[in-house]
């Protein structure tokens, strides 16, 4: 079946089997390997991407379901050679160790901050509760997302002035 999917702002038209999972479409058809496969059984969130802005598990979503929709992966965060604020803050706040969960964490964090730019610890923990990290103990992930929120607010206040 032919599908047209916009990934990180670029439109791709490809012929895929209906059974192809979105995660395989991204990794194998487009070579975007930043979206990870952790459990392949809908439990870990390593495969999280945004579809029309909503975070979901790309191992539990068919590529054909994304036909005509817009997908954002970790590769889409960096714009014009500049890291996204959330990427910079994960780096600053030591929000990652091995990095396996990080693409998913950053995308969930970004989606959260768009709705709630100043989340409490509990709100961040609730938002990332579908994403498992086996390294950090989560503390610095929470800090990274909050720090990114503060910077995004400051930057949009500056821009408004």
């Amino acid at each position: 079946m032919e599908v047209t999917i916009t990934v990180n702002g670029r439109t791709h038209t490809k012929s895929v089997e209906p059974r192809m999972l979105l995660v395989h479409f991204l990794r194998e058809e487009l070579g975007l390997t930043g979206t990870h496969i952790g459990c392949d059984s809908s439990h870990c969130g390593a495969c999280t991407v945004l579809v029309d802005g909503t975070p979901l598990k790309s191992c539990t979503y068919l590529a054909v379901m994304a036909n005509g929709r817009s997908v954002e992966t970790v590769e889409g965060l960096k714009q014009g050679g500049k890291l996204h604020v959330i990427q910079e803050e994960f780096k600053e706040q030591h929000g990652l160790q091995c990095g396996y969960c990080t693409p998913g964490m950053m995308l969930v964090g970004k989606a959260l901050l768009e709705e709630n730019p100043n989340p409490t610890d509990d709100e961040v923990r609730f938002a990332i509760s579908g994403n498992i990290c086996r390294c950090t103990g989560y503390m610095n992930i929470v800090k990274s997302i909050q720090a990114a929120g503060k910077r995004m607010q400051a930057e949009s206040a500056d821009a408004a002035e």
Binding site: S41, T60, L62, S129
Partner: protein, 288 residues
């Protein structure tokens, strides 16, 4: 893991979807959020010839409260209901279940109708809809059938739904003063199915319980309708003693086995405690 091969259609109207179902019969399968079906396909527990994607049907995810009726489109997502202002202010049992099911990512896709049709005895929506005494509307080409929630779910992963039917809507009476409800769930961690869940809906009138709905999660081979507990409650004034008595009536119908979530005795104790707490919470809200 790859699912088995299948064809895929994505109708853009209910009519088209019903036509596709009529055409494919028992070889066609609806996909809603896919949060139960895709794992099943990957494990090869299901191998339909054609998947009929209902995510593009317009208006299937609406919520309305009009003319004394509360309506949910079958495609309402768990997260959508968990955050809905009407649910967080009035129908707490819906808001609470909506935020306790699975994890936030699954909740963004998983739907009310999909959960009811999947009929996992450990799933949460079935109990909520039993407590609300909801009606489940099943449509096929040229005909509509309606079932009470308790009747719709027949047993483990089995419902009244026929191969050529779609659940389009779930509805119940709108609350009209003196209504309070709660959903409590014990889970070992986020994303886990319930060890025990209690869905409670009470209406208080002049200090006594005028109507009661109680649904139980993970307490048997399907979501259980605790009718005996409801009978204990109706016509009485809320009190700790009454709630304890209703809790015993609920425990009496629990049919649980030992598994990694605990022994039968343990699960029944959780149920007993949740019944008392859940009733107290619902009664407090009904009086507010």
């Amino acid at each position: 893991m790859y699912p088995p091969r299948f064809d895929y259609v994505a109708p853009t109207s209910l009519e088209e979807a019903l036509d596709a179902l009529a055409e494919h019969g028992d070889e066609g399968k609806i996909i809603a959020g896919g949060q139960s079906l895709i794992p099943m396909l990957k494990l090869r527990f299901a191998s339909p010839e054609t998947l009929i994607d209902i995510n593009r049907l317009p208006g299937m995810d609406g919520v309305s409260e009009e003319g004394g009726t509360l309506r949910f489109g079958a495609l309402c997502r768990h997260n959508q209901l968990g955050a809905h202002p009407l649910m967080t202010s009035k129908y707490h049992v819906v808001a609470e279940a909506g935020t306790l099911i699975a994890d936030p990512l699954v909740r963004n896709m998983g739907s009310l109708g999909g959960s009811l049709c999947h009929a996992d005895p450990q799933a949460d929506w079935g109990s909520v809809m039993i407590a609300l005494k909801a009606t489940i509307v099943c449509q096929k080409k040229g005909a509509t059938r309606e079932f009470g929630a308790a009747e719709f779910m027949e047993g483990i992963f089995t419902t009244k739904l026929a191969d050529d039917e779609i659940v389009t809507e779930i509805r119940c009476d709108a609350a009209n003063g003196g209504f309070g409800s709660s959903y409590l769930k014990m889970e070992r961690k986020v994303g886990d199915f319930a060890t025990c869940g209690t869905a409670i809906a009470l209406t208080l009138k002049d200090g006594t319980i005028a109507s009661a709905g109680v649904g139980l999660t993970a307490m048997g081979a399907k979501n259980l309708h605790a009718e005996d507990a409801e009978k204990v409650l109706v016509g009485q004034a809320p009190s700790a003693e009454l709630f304890a008595e209703a809790a015993e009536a609920a425990v009496a119908i629990a049919d649980v086995r030992e598994d990694s979530r605990g022994t039968p005795e343990y699960k029944k104790n959780v149920l007993r405690t949740f019944m008392k707490r859940g009733l107290a919470k619902a009664a407090l809200r009904a009086q507010a």
